[in-house]
Subunit: 372 residues, 2 copies
């Protein structure tokens, strides 16, 4: 622990980012309160937990790739510290990722990803369908080719959230189970009261836009439907690696969990603050998953849920001062779990009134324009 | 109310049958206790609530058809009394049923059902696909023909359960929130105690077989997976009638609810006491429902659950004395809601030590053989 500080930090939002910032700040000696009516119940609870900067690399998003790669590199240490601080498993899985394709167009997309990464000096290994099935016998005959990305990992989001909450509590974070309505320097307005403080950190995901004028209209909800399955006694075991890919052009992923569980995702719909699961979404997810892994038909469907990714125009998060006393650490789109270690490091630097590392420059709130 | 009786009746099982028997017995002056760790949470909670003796008529099951038709005839009065006694809606819907078919084999099955009913003197109207779509515009182009069965109704099972519980409470039924382990004359054994009484009524659904030797091995669980959907603002409205039919040979039904809801069922699996919902089950239900009503793709998936139908070798329920002091009113297979009015009437007659109506003879426990 560093020297005692007396600044009071209020974190608004108890998802993976908010919990991590709160834990880290409290462990560094700040007095920390976390405001959330139901911590660990929003998009972070629904998430797949992929830590996959390479598999998700896209031309034009090089800054996001750099940010994601740097944050991924910190995950093993972050996970270790989290386990120690909480006495709970972090949920990190290090088996790596396969990106697969089914039809010709899918494989063309994989070629594009591989080519893009090669131009950036990152190599991934191409595999035939036969080679893929040798690594993961659960894959079906429709899987015709893919890429091995051993460095792209995954974390059991719910285990991580349990651990983060325990770590935050152990570090002395005070949980305020109320909904924040507005944030201004030195104060967070709740329904019937105000929490005064020195610094506010807004980590409220898709709801961040309503809390501060600088974020208004800058963060939009992108709905994702996700299914949670579990192997039945008589069914084939799931893959050991995350398997993802375009399946007839649709993004699809199967993320294995330690208990025979599989998280299946994810649709993307821009439909506002709507977390209903649709028949079409479930039908498509199941069809694509069966194409990738036919044996999944015999799995139990435990849960169908939807979450709201907090998305920005350039898919980069928003990390930095909105005005004196008000920090943003939000807008993580698909990458909340991936980007949490680097986000927490950046927020800690900002709380110390230091310049965060150079990579963080790309996430500066000022790039969004509008009222600052 | 009839004259005061002092006999203490213990009903084991708080599904639709047990709640109805308890309500009716208490309203007739018996002292009634209902033993169930979680009333209204088992197969009755999962059910579709179809009251459809004609649509489910099958050669060789003429006694079941007679029983079902007689019970259906009592539903309007039963519903009326239930509403009055509970102050809650009974959930009865009187819009009738369409039985539809998709492919040639489906339509052959419909011909068989129509022919069978005609031989029994019951007529149903045949409709073309065009005529069906005129009645229910939500039906898709794959629906090629069907039968109109206006007398087959449906009840919102959850509304009915809420009302039954309220009616039972209002009539003075005592709820004992524990699991019955064994039944013998004059006593129901719980985990750590015994409830003494004059008569026990076993209405414990698929679990009835473990409670009394006369039912052992006679009632087996038949799992049914079911989905609950609800219309989204932009989606087409559901049909007003229950729509059911063989869809490419698979049984499938869509039962509309008053609030834009649709209950979608149901698979049939003989897999023991297993209430897990499988990927294959959900996939098939959604595919068949979309064939029947394409617009359902835009509905919200609210719930995927499975229940255990309590089934006997001849698909008839078991209603009668197992030994002095122990009555059975169980084994209702797919027909718990349909057969509840006639079952409750029969149990009330038996409690009065009268002979129940002649139709009930077919449900006598002695037909099952084994220890009586």
């Amino acid at each position: 622990m560093s020297e005692e500080r007396t600044e009071h930090v209020v974190v608004v939002g108890g998802g993976v980012v908010g919990l991590s910032v709160a834990w880290r700040a409290a462990a560094s000696g700040y007095r920390v309160s976390l405001v959330d009516p139901a911590p660990a119940s929003g998009a972070s609870h629904v998430a797949g937990g992929m830590l996959a900067p390479l598999a998700e690399a896209w031309p034009g998003e090089e800054e996001l790739l750099e940010l994601g790669s740097a944050s991924l590199g910190r995950w093993p240490e972050f996970a270790e510290e989290l386990s120690q601080a909480s006495g709970s498993p972090s949920g990190l899985r290090t088996e790596g990722t396969l990106v697969i394709g089914v039809d010709g167009a899918d494989r063309e997309e994989l070629d594009n990803v591989a080519g893009h990464l090669a131009r950036l000096g990152r190599t991934v290994t191409r595999l035939t369908g036969r080679e893929l099935r040798k690594l993961e016998p659960a894959l079906g005959p429709s899987v015709r080719g893919g890429l091995e990305v051993p460095g792209d990992l995954a974390v059991d989001n719910r285990k991580a959230l349990v651990a983060l909450r325990a770590a935050a509590e152990a570090a002395g974070v005070e949980f305020v189970a109320e909904r924040a309505e507005q944030v201004r320097p030195g104060a967070v307005e709740l329904a019937g009261s105000t929490v005064s403080c020195d610094v506010v950190v807004i980590s409220a995901g898709a709801h961040s836009g309503s809390l501060h004028p600088a974020l208004a209209q800058k963060i939009r909800p992108v709905k994702g439907e996700i299914l949670r399955l579990r192997k039945r006694a008589t069914a084939l075991p799931p893959p050991t690696r995350t398997v993802r890919g375009p399946v007839h052009g649709r993004p699809c992923y199967l993320v294995p969990r330690d208990d025979g569980g599989v998280v299946l995702g994810a649709t993307q719909h821009e439909v506002g603050f709507d977390t209903e699961v649709t028949v079409a979404g479930v039908r498509d997810l199941l069809a694509d998953a069966e194409t990738v892994m036919p044996g999944i038909a015999e799995y139990t469907l435990l849960e169908a849920t939807a979450g709201l990714r907090p998305s920005t125009a350039d898919n980069l998060p928003v990390i930095g001062w909105l005005e004196p006393g008000v920090l943003a650490a939000t807008g993580h789109h698909r990458g909340g779990f991936l980007l949490t270690p680097i986000t927490a490091d950046a927020v800690l630097a900002l709380l110390r009134r230091e310049q965060p590392e150079a990579l963080i420059k790309a996430t500066d709130p000022s790039r969004l324009g509008g009222q600052q």
